[in-house]
Amino acid sequence: MHGGMSAGELVAEGIRKDFPGGTRALDGVSFTARPGRVLTLLGPSGCGKSTLLRVVAGLEAPTDGRLTLDGRPLDGVPPGKRDVGFVFQNYALYPHLSVTRNLSLGLEARGLPRGEIDERIRETAQMLGIGELLGRRPGQLSGGQQQRVALGRALVRRPRLYLMDEPLSNLDALLREGMRAELKGLFRRLGATVLYVTHDQAEAMSLSDEILLLREGRALQCAAPLEIYERPADLFTATFIGSPRLTVWRGRAEGGIFVGGAARIPLPRELAHGPTIDLGVRPEHVVVSVGPLPDAWPARLEVAEPLGDRALLTLRVGDETLRAFSPHRAWPDSLFASVDSARFLWFDGETGRRLESGTAGGLDWCP
């Protein structure tokens, strides 16, 4: 439907942002948002993801670094001329204007002819299912409807780049899940380049083509969702992605053997490691059994949480805790847990970087 309008490619290089008072919100972040793809900025609150989005929008000026959209430098370009559509977390609709006027104001300011404006509003309203609401004011809409109008205000502009700042976080859980799938479909249909900010790793996994994980103003990893899940760059990334979190055992290397808690595990031969090592195990990779399997640890069952399709068990292995998914059944207090050694995630105890056998482990950068 957006014929002739090319999806934009955004390149950010070394973006730094210092706030007055000495807070460094962004510390040299680089990434590329590729045309027609969804790049999610993910991280805990205070990691700089929203600031990064506002810098791209032009609402904040970067202290240092370069931004280009389809090769055009964005330095000094005012927000209204950047060809970006922004969706605010709290929607920020104009409360005194009807839905129609909320959608049209930006187009009027750009001097589009009336006929074109009406046509775009009609099309956008149809796409978002808000045709019935056009005459109402934001105060007369439900939260979900306001959210659609906020999306519409970005859509109707047909920008090269969509910037979304936690657009689903104000919806209740049920609505959010439905809207998540709808957004994904919408992104696909538009073929739009989207920069999407969230702190919700499940949302990031579901919506993104690529995830840029941020922490304290730095990019930790940029990769496809499954890639980041299976090959996290470091311990923080590994714990942030995946729910429930993976279990971490702190330990040390003693002659090629990992010693941590009750576990003694031979380290992969090619692993280049320091004296201290952390072991990460995802709950879904633990196999629980009543009888001993080869290389299984004896474990005590502490808590079993039924989740419907399966149960989440909290086990005690020696002095350490281990979380494991298992089929539903009445487990005895005393059982065994084992993990396929290929599933172990090894991290350097000092730096937190993931250790990888064979190739050098570490960051996968967006090309």
Binding site: P20, A57, L59, P78, P79, G80, K81, V84, G85, F86, F88, Q89, N90, Y91, A92, L93, Y94, P95, H96, L105, G106, A109, R110, R137, P138, G139, Q140, L141, G143, Q146, Q147, R153, N170
Partner: protein, 273 residues
């Protein structure tokens, strides 16, 4: 019980505020003999419009009212207009700088206007502004500006920041943002500021008395001051009271006219959470 106490307290406040005005109105309607009679006569009996008629014959009341209206309305437009621009700029400043400016404005207001009287009079005379309405409009607007800025600035700060940013992203120029977004959202406060500034200007006496010497240029407050008796021993209480009623009535009408516009709740549904 609580309700009754509230009613009594509210009634007391209303009586306290309205009693002088009611007394003034009663006096304006009393025949001369009842005004100074002892024991006190409370209600005019019979009410008479004689003082109003006599006053209208002696003084160009309509002219006074018109002068007052012109000066006050012009000053209100200037003060609120400039106040909007100032508030818009202040709302974008950092907290510390904004507080400094606002504090400075408060400091200015605390100077008694009489300090300004002589320099202003010299300036008005030098510029040939004596008896000219502009001689009042400019100082009125300037004196009322801090009040307007204080009211409008707090209204601006209640507009969620993201709405202004959305307008920036929509490509609206600063003037378009002011007219299409900020002004409508701050409208209740704009009306409030306008009314308060208008009332302050309407009631102003010192500058009006000093700058206006010709009878037909006088504002209503300065006009009332010129209502005298036939000798210095005679004070025409009835006519003075009638003049005060004439001066006050337009303000009361004004407040009732705009009362509905001061309703709040306009920002409902703007932002979520």
């Amino acid at each position: 019980m609580k309700r009754a106490a509230f009613a009594v307290a509210a009634g007391a406040v209303v009586a306290w505020s309205l009693a002088p005005a009611a007394w003034q109105l009663a006096t304006a309607l009393k025949p001369d003999s009842e005004i100074t009679a002892a024991p006190t006569v409370y209600l005019p009996h019979p009410p008479t419009l004689r003082h109003f008629a006599a006053l209208a014959k002696r003084k160009p009341l309509g002219r006074y009212l018109l002068n007052s209206f012109e000066a006050s309305a012009a000053a209100t437009l200037v003060a609120v207009g400039a106040g909007l621009l100032a508030a818009s700029a202040l709302a974008r400043m950092s907290g510390r700088r904004r507080r400094r400016v606002l504090f400075g404005l408060l400091l200015l207001v605390s100077f008694p206007p009489i300090l300004l009287l002589f320099p202003l009079y010299e300036a008005a005379r030098a510029l040939g502004g004596v008896n000219h309405p502009l001689a009042l409009v400019i100082p009125y607007a300037a004196l009322a500006l801090p009040l307007a800025i204080w009211i409008l600035e707090s209204a601006y700060r209640q507009i969620p920041r993201e709405i202004g940013e959305a307008a920036v992203l929509d490509g609206l120029s600063p003037l378009q943002r002011l007219v299409r977004i900020e002004l409508p959202l701050a409208l209740p406060s704009v009306v409030t500021a306008g009314i308060l500034v208008f009332i302050a200007c309407w009631n102003e006496f010192l500058l009006a008395l000093t700058f206006l010497t010709r009878d037909e240029s006088k504002t209503i407050t300065a006009g009332i001051a010129s209502v005298g008796g036939s000798s210095i021993y005679e004070i025409p209480w009835g006519q003075l009271s009638a003049a005060v009623v004439v001066a006050t009535a337009p303000l009361i009408v004004l407040v009732f006219l705009f009362e509905r516009r001061i309703a709040g709740g306009l920002t409902r549904g703007a932002v979520k959470g």
